[in-house]
Amino acid sequence: MADATAVTVEDLVAWVHRFSEVIAEHADELTQLDSPIGDADHGTNMRRGCRAAVEALEATGPEDVTGFGRAIAMKLISAVGGTSGPLYGSFFLAFGTAGGATHTLDDAGTVAALRAAVDAVAARGKAEPGDKTMLDALIPAVEAMEASLEAGGSLRDAMAAGTTAAEEGMHATTPMIARKGRASYLGERSIGHQDPGATSSWLLVRSAAETLAA
């Protein structure tokens, strides 16, 4: 079972390719979301950074999960900028470190690496669930995956559950008052707007489902 759904470095590369594609498709929407409660650049930044990450992958071709994580992280950090650059950078750096110097990850290893990645975002940004940030998509997603695996589900089941949870988490940000990031300056006026970072995080999780357990 685990073997059947083993995640390879090639799958991880496909994940980033797919993420880059959907970010490009949704770039304008992400920037729109970042207008009322931010500075109208989330889509632009993410598109630029993901494109650079894909180019970097094509240039280097990582050998193992750690190398993959580091390559993506460095690119996202230097090409996305803003708040989400270091946060998504931390995500992939931690993913690679947790995944280790290996070419494949089994189901548990994949979800464990995702957990480490999400925890790194929380550590770097010092945000908590309910603060109206990307963590409101990421934390429910990884918790749902863990629960699914725990209940004996396949990676595919886990990923599906994670995607659904991320999407719900993203929608749940709309009524929240932002307490972190730029949107927090608006106080109560941040209510009623979906968080752009939670939206890109949902796309990240969905891309993982499409590529790591398809």
Partner: protein, 332 residues
Amino acid sequence: MKKLINGTDDVVAEALQGMEQAHPELKINHELKVIVRGDAPVQGKVGVISGGGSGHEPMHGGFVGRGMLDAACPGEVFTSPTPDQMLEATKAVDGGAGVLHIVKNYTGDVLNFEMAAELAQADGIDVASVVIDDDVAVQDSSFTAGRRGVGATVLAEKICGAAAEAGKDLATVTELCERVNAQGRSMGMALTSCTVPAAGKPTFELGDDEMEIGIGIHGEPGRERRPVTTAAEVAKQLVDPILADLPYERGEKALVFVNSMGGTPLIELYILYNEVVKLLAEHGIEIARNLVGPYITSLEMQGASVTLLKLDDEMTGYWDAAVETPALRWGA
């Protein structure tokens, strides 16, 4: 969107090229986007750098030069620069006495500067950081991102740049910077929005009779939308929250900085400054120094901000010290 630009993706890169042509006394690293003073690194001097999104010109690049910043890292428009830029800037200005990072309090800026500082320290450079958070429009709380860094940044860069130029050590310059931040308060307002080139349309829409009070410098909407009013009333709406947050004794000295958000012309800024002067006189505050002009802007936004810095003699001395940058020059 009408702007004097070519492609929206090339705004920052081309503006840097133009800046290099206009200011051959600066060294510009176009690949990493770093603006460095011509004679850097100055051996034995503390390096002072800053950086942040573009679109606030002349801040920060226009403050690079003798007596102020040693380097600046411009990000994309309203987007934090990245750690590789900051690392490069830090290395380029390190004269062996350490480097101060002056960081405006935005999550992106803070996270990126944090990473850069870790990388620089790993390279053996002594780095200190001060996060500027002077914007009284934002409620301060340890549960939130905290106040934004706005006008006090310009004052901190001038004052700390002068202290570094005078040979003060990293601890002293850092402590001074913290003091400027502790004594500085700002509040801003907008009559119009601005348009981020890549977004192509105004970040927010304001009616013909509306203004935003408590804006930041990234075209983000403010604390509140209010009806447009006179310069006298606007001055009050900016000064009152500042004084409520950091009260002054009668006779205390202030540096008053009245800043254009970009699109408000000097003739209006002087009218606003005149009203601020009257208000401060009522409070018995002595205006020991002033700065009036567009120094920390939001693209073409119409609007203004007021910054008050409670001065001590040391700050005043460093404020008066010679400065020679594209945007601020005196006493050279």
